[in-house]
Symmetry: C2
Subunit: 402 residues, 2 copies
């Protein structure tokens, strides 16, 4: 059901990274649900996490461990979020790190734990522990495709991409995987994403780049406005290619990282729970980027806009109403113009004289629908990506425990 999204046929391995997927039986019986990622010593890791105050135990542990060491292992489980689990959940997250550290011959603080799935149930650490020997035995640089499937929950398509980029004539490789389909909103959603490269990038540069890139990618998508307790985006640079990225080499690397993150972020929207349309909302002419984001988000989250687009109904009054209720000071509607695809709907606050229903209907029939809103207040712009709201969204979320 995902909108124009397919899993890739192959992914490029990253020198210095090995992965293993195993079935620990946490929630799913006939599929892998635990992923172990190993990084070679000397790798640098940058991360962005959910801003939800009720963040999950593994997020607390990740934040702590990243401050105190360079990670060697990432341990990810699907089916249980280890969120809303209190002190017992914290102990479970730490215990799983200790188990990995024992078998991986590193410190427990060099292990980053991640969980996704049902909130409010205690993590069965014993099941994860029991599966670890098999995971260590299976570690393999070719494990990316399998890994992209292991981390899925309500996802219907595995989300993954590889890129190669030339920096001063030398090739570096980037591979990324992500999961997430609901609870998707700026500042991370029930979303996990892992991006690795063999480039040599200093840790502070890597974190700065990630902070910039996430603002233009993962923080611009929304499915339902619900920010999850567990969202995490990790970028790992092993340096194994020996290609140093910094100074003049940065723009090309940044661009590749941006494209990887944009692909993965949009893939999450394309596979949004129950999605039948991929909608981009470009707000231009705003006084500030923050203002453009507010308007874009208000339209993107309007259940009335989303249900109309699900029905392929060019009910532009709902778009207009959503723009009008955006929390923007002194919005002057006589300066606002709105386009649906190439079709002008509103020109300077008035219905466009060139508009007729068939034009709008042709635009909303498409499965990719761009909406453009010009506020006439300044030069700032921002784009938000979202999907429509269907019967299946209700069905998935009324029946699935997330």
């Amino acid at each position: 059901m995902a909108v124009n999204l397919q899993a890739p046929d192959t992914l490029l391995p990253i020198a210095g990274v090995r992965l293993a997927s195993v079935n620990a039986g946490i929630r799913y019986k006939n599929r892998n649900d635990v992923l172990l990622i190993e990084l070679e010593p000397g790798s640098h890791t940058a991360a962005v996490f959910t801003r939800n105050a009720f963040c999950a135990a593994p997020v607390h542990v990740c934040r702590h461990n990243l401050l105190h060491s360079n990670p060697r292992y990432l341990l990810i489980n699907a089916g249980n979020a280890n969120a809303g689990t209190g002190e017992q959940g914290m102990q479970a997250a730490r215990a799983s790190c200790e188990q990995v550290a024992q078998q991986g011959a590193c410190w427990a603080e060099q292990v980053l734990p991640f969980s996704t799935g049902v909130i409010g149930q205690q993590l069965p650490v014993d099941k994860i522990t029991a599966a670890l020997p098999e995971a260590f035995a299976k570690l393999d640089a070719a494990g990316w495709m399998e890994a992209s499937r292991t981390i899925m929950t309500t996802d219907t398509v595995a989300k993954a991409i590889s890129r190669q980029v030339q920096i001063f004539g030398e090739t570096i490789t980037i591979t990324g995987i992500a999961k997430g389909a609901g609870m998707i909103h700026p500042n991370m959603a029930t979303m996990l994403a892992y991006v690795a490269t063999d480039a040599l990038v200093e840790k502070t540069i890597l974190q700065d780049l990630l902070n910039e890139v996430v603002e233009e990618t993962f923080n611009c998508i929304t499915v339902d406005g619900d920010t999850s307790t567990n969202d995490s985006l990790i970028v790992m640079a092993t340096g194994s290619s020996g290609v140093y990225v910094g100074g003049d080499g940065l723009p090309a690397f940044r661009q590749a990282l941006l494209e990887i993150c944009l692909y993965l972020a949009q893939a999450i929207v394309r596979d949004g729970e129950g999605a039948t349309k991929f909608i981009s909302i470009e707000v231009q002419g705003a006084a500030t980027r923050a203002e453009a984001r507010v308007v874009g988000n208000t339209v993107a989250l309007s259940p009335l806009v989303k249900t109309a687009l699900f029905a392929s109904d060019p009910n532009w009054g709902r778009i207009l109403a959503a723009v009008g209720r955006s929390q923007v000071d002194a919005l002057d509607v006589s300066r606002i113009s709105i386009w649906l695809g190439e079709t002008l709907l509103i020109e300077n606050g008035e219905p466009a004289s060139t508009y007729y229903e068939e034009l709008g209907a042709a635009e909303t029939k498409r499965d990719e629908i761009p909406i453009r809103i010009h506020l006439g207040r300044g030069e700032a712009a921002a784009t938000t990506w979202t999907c429509d709201f269907s019967y299946d969204y209700v069905k998935i979320n009324a029946e699935y425990r997330s």
Copy 2:
């Protein structure tokens, strides 16, 4: 399908108010769609309107007319919102006032126009004009029950209530009607409400009372977060009872007005599009009332919370996640406690040791579900009322042009 809501059997007439419902054929064929309300000279009117920047033409005209005169007539049509209709829509709204003024022997500025229905289509003033003679002929103090049905759009139950209250031993009467089922959010939704009393209340006092009461009633309900372009709440005091309300008489009158508005506001939520549950979210222990409102709204608007409650699933992790992502500075989860009905879910940020699944399941099976959240930050509190999110919400909004 409305949750525990029935239309009243009778409504009390208000001395000085006459009403007429007629079928003008604006959109509906076999039902009335135009309501005319007549106020006797000397009546005072207070009003609150949508804050949507794209507010509808009739809202512009109402605001202007209320500044310049004391209304004698209210003209309300269902089926067409006259919103997003530009300058032509403004002319249509003014023209309909002029038509009423001619037949009612008053100034056009003494007529308040209201529209509800589809956005973006021009109002057929000629149809309304053609129906006016019949409307004037039908004006009747007993017209309230019929009026409550005339203004319905996606409503499934007419919303109306009457109250009598003793002030210094004399009786005054208040009767109110409202419509609205979707696009409901603080600051008015596709909501029209008309409340009339025979009490004698000064205009400025009436407006101050209304401003206070609306903050505790209509601005505390939300169905889908979408604020409409047309929302209007009007309170009319004819003074025909001769009972002056002011000074020591105010508290009793304010209380009656509050109860009327609370009933009508909650009735709109009970009849929320596709609603199967009536949910109240009481946030206590907040630093400010604004903060309590932000948290209540975030939970009330979470599609994940609303779909879980539709499924009677005590998936409290979603409530916790919504509280956690509320835009409240420095939220300390270790001070937060959450109850579902009488059942403690979260105690000081930790899962309550007394909780087990069957307790939560029993609470969510009910058709009225109270959620209580204590933030542990201060003394302020606020309650938000909302409904669940069902297949029928999607169905209604994918198929109906509002």
